[in-house]
Amino acid sequence: MKETLLLTKHMRENPEDSHLIDSYEKNGGYETARRTLINGSPENVLEEIKASNIRGRGGAGFPTGVKWGFLAENEDRYLVINADESEPGTFKDRILLERDPHQLIEGIIITCFAANIKNAFIYIRGEYAKPARRVQDAVEQAYQKGYLGKNIFNSEMNLDLVVHLGAGAYICGEETALLNSLEGRRGEPRLKPPYFPAVKGLYMKPTLVNNVETISSVPWIVENTGKEYNKLGVEGSTGTRIFSLSGHVNNPGNYEIEMGSSFGEFVESLGNGIRNNKKVKAYIPGGASAPWFRGDQLDIKMTIDDVANNNSMLGSGAVVMMDEDTNLVNAAKSIVSFFAHESCGQCTPCREGTTWLEMILDRVASGRGRASDIDLLLDVCDNISPGLSWPPKMTTICPLGPSAVSPITSLMNDFREEVESLIPTKVLL
């Protein structure tokens, strides 16, 4: 199994200076944007994106061309790049920001040309200080060259780009929470409807919110055509995708591959297998929000639809391998604690539910569990996401609450004995 390098090609070939504008331009950078702005048309760009069938790389996997098509008419429209990468297991946007910021900026220029947008923002999580510095330097270099600001490439187009730093809140990766945060408010998700960003987004104006990896793909798609991009990968999951591989593997890291091979192949080949030749007990196919797969399910294909058909999600492309020695109750507790900490507190089922799940799991993990705790955990989960089905039913404004349910249902469906073994059978005095 081999990588297919589109987004990570420039950084691989120019490791020491891929973040600088001279290096980027020497390798053909900004040429696509220049040609598009001078000779292209917004309609053509949109057509290429639609033809590529690229689906959003942030987690939800919504078709990007369709999203762009929803953007309502208005004099003021905005583009916001979601660089609030915080899903446990995920570190793919970090490499794109740190090592190829100009690719993202070129993608932003082309996107804004296609959508007639004059103001764009990159919302980077506060903990990504180094990536943010690199992006800020890149933005300044682009302004100096006249690639941002007024009359870009001597065309009619004006574009201002601001790098905005968040302050430590996972929930701001949810697009409407991100917009509230960017407006200087608490990062609480908004109700959809009516607050669909494409209609009522930033400052209640039509807004595109796209992930770093999605927009970084735009220059390649426009340069090589959507048709060529569509040939990569498989139907429904076209193009390449950067997977973040972590956990008990020999070679963790970011790997850019065409979607379609199996998780097992991926881990054995690019990940060089599990450390100390251990077996996989369970793995997370798409970030902490995703229900787990068992070690005997490694033949599932890495596509959005295959993973969904097996009742989980490819999400942000974060694959976490857990070997046979892993204490899965502790692993689940870590994930549930994460969501309890990151709940914004607006919706009662999430605010209270995640906190109770954390407390009950904590006592089970430490050997103080009660015989009724398994039923209690499932009952609390059912109050957050009725029916415990996949995709999850919601009692909350956003999917954060239901995400905390994933590790618990995974435990109870596939590893129930492990939980039961921790619960004392005699009454403790």
């Binding site: 506060g126 200080a129 943010a132 510095r133 809140a169 972590s246 956990g247």
Partner: protein, 204 residues
């Protein structure tokens, strides 16, 4: 107002970056923290006046986000990750080592105002687990021994600029990916080192 002229000038520059003033609250809170090491009531009042919204609204924003500290922090904010990839790669041990070395529990600051310790959620260093940040600069692939050495180095050298590359070279291990670029800029306080807040510097 009790921010000095250069702070006010910087604040006004930040406000101008946005179509609406209120958007500047986040960056201004980072700026406030770079001044005091936490969000003081005084800063809340200044920001409220600059942006034109009530103090309680600014306060409600500042208490929502975990990076805005409501109590003074030490010179070095030690944030050890405890999320899933770190959890299954022994982050508990790293947390214990840092707690032992500093004598601190979660969210505590020592009496010399040198260290603040916190166990935090995912910092995006999962491929290099276990990992931590010092003043939001990342070190990956930690061992217990190297974590102690890192803490000793901070205590003895007390560097004014914290640089990820320097720490990674001396105390780190497996990385999430090849960092490749030998950057020598870092942060000057227990805040993200970022141009907009004047909190980043190159090493001399």
């Amino acid at each position: 107002m009790s921010w000095n002229d250069s702070m006010i000038k910087q604040a006004k520059k930040i406000i101008k970056m946005y179509p609406q003033k209120r958007s500047a609250i986040g960056p201004l809170l980072h700026l406030a923290q770079s001044k005091d090491g936490y969000i003081s009531d005084d800063s809340i009042a200044v920001i409220s006046e600059l942006v034109g919204i009530t103090e309680v609204q600014v306060k409600s924003v500042s208490t929502f986000y975990s990076m805005y500290k409501q109590e003074p922090t030490g010179k070095y904010l030690l944030s050890v990750c405890k999320s899933i990839s770190c959890e299954i790669n022994n982050s508990k041990e790293i947390i214990d080592v840092v707690k032992d070395f500093t004598g601190l529990n979660n969210n505590e600051t020592d009496e010399n105002d040198l260290f603040t310790f916190e166990a935090v959620e995912c910092i995006g260093a999962c491929g290099g687990a276990p990992a931590m940040q010092i003043n939001y600069e990342t070190v990956e692939g930690l061992s217990s021994e190297n974590t102690i050495k890192l803490c000793e180095w901070l205590k003895e050298e007390q560097p004014d600029v914290i640089i990820a590359e320097e720490m990674q070279d001396n105390f780190g291990g497996t990385k999430s990916f090849d960092w490749a670029i030998k950057d020598q800029s870092g942060t000057t306080g227990s805040v993200p080192g970022f141009q907009t807040f004047n909190t980043t510097k190159e090493k001399k």
